[in-house]
């Protein structure tokens, strides 16, 4: 886009880059805010249906689809309260810390091939690192509220998030290992082709570890059954007990943004990212290169693919939330340390051994590209290959790295 602004419109370079950055940031912000509006409405409807109710029906026509907007206006109009004993600065800054952490993680998240704020070659690592920072806002909120409920909620959240980062990291390593890259774009590109190329169906171990990832992801974004930080039956509302109005809604936007983020991450790591179950573009003779309109259309379809998968992930989390009862804190820790971590470790080793035993996959003919030498840089300077050459058999990186 910046090159287009420079070359076609004739803007100066600094202005072109600034506009590009602002457009990208605005788009991400809209994904977060618009997503939160839609998901809050969906959550109301899903909760209602699971509990055999109707949910919002009146606001804005047939399905109450304007309910989120009405909520938003209500939140705007609410009085912004702060407790007397609160630490004012920390109390005010906490929601923004949470929100900024979620927002920053979106920068490195690709929505389709090349539809990415900033493509990082350590994208997975960056997203996981930034996602863990969201808890800062919660702890600050809990501390600054000068309320025992809030403090309890914050402490629980800290313990939970710190614990669940371990199995989460282990789950994420498996697709990284299979793809040979931490670049999210590369990882998704490696799963191009038919449904069977998705890492979810790569081998039994990745299938199991996907569900471990789902568990850890739900826990790391504090959704029920892991929402101990805001256990309303014991802690009133947990860390955001003292918050109201717009500040409170920032926490919720951060929560829904994180839900969407981990779902999109799951889609990219395990479910082919923007590659649909059937390689329509490849069958039609198109490829995701750069250039003309057809390729652009391919990417828009890919964008729809990814958004659909991520939305399904969020809906799945809602389904879980309204189905399962909340765990106790010791059960949360047991789930993490006694189940998720060992299972993830074993599955990691298993996926590694599977890759050694069946490097071509069990179904050889299913559109998986033939073996290529992945690490071209291991070749010697004179063109002859060095003694160590790592053969890769599952896909090509040349297209993605370029």
């Amino acid at each position: 886009m910046a090159a287009f602004l420079i070359n076609s419109v004739g803007l100066p370079e600094w202005l072109a880059w600034t506009i590009t950055a602002l457009v990208a940031a605005g788009l991400i912000l809209n994904v977060i805010a618009g997503g939160a509006l839609a998901f809050i409405w969906a959550e109301r409807k899903i909760a209602a249906r699971i509990q055999d109710r109707l949910g919002p029906t009146r606001t804005g026509g047939r399905f109450g689809w304007l309910q989120s907007l009405a909520d938003g206006i209500k939140l705007l109009a609410k009085e912004d309260l702060m407790p007397d004993g609160a630490d004012g600065m920390l109390f005010r800054i906490a929601p923004y810390v949470s929100f900024c952490a979620s927002f920053c993680a979106f920068i490195a998240l690709p929505f389709a091939f090349d539809f990415v704020g900033q493509r990082l070659n350590v994208g997975v690592f960056f997203v996981i690192a930034v996602l863990g920072l969201e808890v800062f806002g919660v702890i600050l909120a809990g501390y600054a509220s000068a309320s025992k409920w809030s403090l309890f909620g914050a402490m629980r959240e800290a313990a939970q998030v710190v614990s669940y980062e371990v199995p989460l990291g282990m789950c994420v390593v498996v697709p990284v290992m299979l793809a040979g890259s931490m670049d999210l774009v590369t990882i998704a590109e490696k799963q191009a082709g038919w449904l069977t190329n998705w890492y979810l169906f790569h081998d039994p171990f990745t299938f199991v570890i996907f569900w471990v990832y789902v568990t850890c992801a739900v826990a790391s974004v504090n959704r029920a059954p892991f929402d101990l930080a805001e256990a309303e039956s014991e802690l009133v509302a947990g860390f955001h007990t003292e918050y109201s109005g717009l500040r409170w809604s920032f926490f919720f936007m951060a929560e829904y943004a994180s839900m969407f983020l981990v779902s999109a991450l799951a889609a990219i790591l395990f479910m082919g990212g923007w590659n649909g179950p059937v390689p329509l573009a490849a069958l039609a003779g198109l490829s995701e290169g750069t250039g003309d309109t057809a390729h652009y259309l391919v990417r828009v379809v890919g964008l729809a693919n990814l958004l659909t998968k991520a939305t399904l992930g969020v809906l799945f989390m809602m389904w879980i939330r309204w189905t399962l009862p909340r765990l106790r804190i010791d059960q949360v820790m047991t789930t993490c340390l006694k189940y998720c971590t060992p299972i993830a470790a074993v599955m990691f080793a298993g996926a590694m051994l599977w890759q050694l035993a069946f490097p071509g996959g069990l179904i050889p003919g299913m559109a998986r590209p033939a073996g290529e030498i992945r690490e071209g840089w291991l070749e010697g300077p004179g063109g002859q290959s060095a003694p160590v050459v790592v053969p890769s058999v599952d896909g090509t990186v040349a297209k993605a790295v370029r």
């Binding site: 100066p12 800062f136 750069t290 690490e375």
Partner: protein, 254 residues
């Protein structure tokens, strides 16, 4: 919308071609961003020193370290930047938690160092600053603003080197076909050390569970308890259940 749709920081460092006569175009935006992040880091670092609330200190430390991560990203060292976020900023989380837990008690809510402490800290800090500044100024290549494009920075060579495969090739003058040594051994040594630390931490922090004594121990402790008071006849056959053993202990101490 190809690669160019990415917001690349490297685009900002290029000399503006179409300046359009605006003074803004003459600014080196890379330097501006560098100064922005650097001053943020410095300001919050000063904030850490001046704040007297532990939680605020930790928060300022987080901001300072995050700004440093921004500097790394600006330099194109994405892996180091993400590491900075993960390890330092994430590690400060634990510090923050401790701060929150400490400030639940009144004496720690605000920390006011004495004048002597301030003087000592100022002395140590300023002498360290002088040493660092002298070292930084003395490096010749750092004095000129040299902007070089990073060609496709990637963390893969780093990881491969840790696995024992160097990408940058053998050193000059090495035999033909030689491969440069990787860092597998140091990596493994560090890993083992960390594992030992983890196991040790888990051992130290384990729940102190009251152990039901084994019959033989119970009998022995029963002997030691009542020693000097009376002699206890050890049963010829030790009871198999620990419950009866504890009964023995209580009976012995009576």
């Amino acid at each position: 919308m190809g690669n160019e749709s990415m917001i690349s920081l490297s685009g900002m460092v290029m000399t503006p071609v179409l300046a359009a006569g605006l003074p803004l175009a003459a600014i080196n935006w890379h330097s501006v961003l560098f100064l922005l992040f650097a001053s943020l880091a410095s300001i919050f670092a000063v904030g850490v020193v001046l704040a007297d609330n532990v939680v605020r200190m930790a928060l300022y430390l987080v901001f300072s370290l995050a700004a440093t991560a921004g500097l790394f990203f600006l330099a194109g060292a994405e892996f180091i930047g993400a590491m900075q976020l993960m390890i330092y900023v994430g590690g400060t989380l634990v510090l923050l938690v401790f701060g929150v837990m400490l400030t639940a008690q009144a004496p720690f809510v605000s920390i006011k160092p004495s004048a002597a402490d301030r003087a000592l800290a100022g002395l140590a800090g300023s002498s360290l600053l002088v040493v660092l500044l002298a070292a930084a100024v003395s490096v010749d290549s750092w004095q000129r603003p040299g902007l070089s494009e990073v060609t496709a920075p990637t963390a893969t060579p780093l990881g491969m080197a840790l696995l024992g495969m160097r990408v940058d090739g053998p050193a000059a003058g090495a035999a033909a076909g030689a491969v440069a040594n990787g860092y597998l051994l140091p990596f493994e040594i560090v890993s083992i050390h960390l594992l030992v630390v983890l196991v040790g931490a888990a051992y130290l922090a384990r729940a102190k569970r009251r152990r039901t004594p084994r019959p033989i121990d119970a009998a022995a402790s029963a002997v030691s308890v009542v020693e000097g008071i009376t002699r206890v006849e050890l049963p010829a056959a030790l009871p198999p259940r620990s419950g009866s053993a504890s009964a023995l202990v209580s009976g012995g101490s009576k």
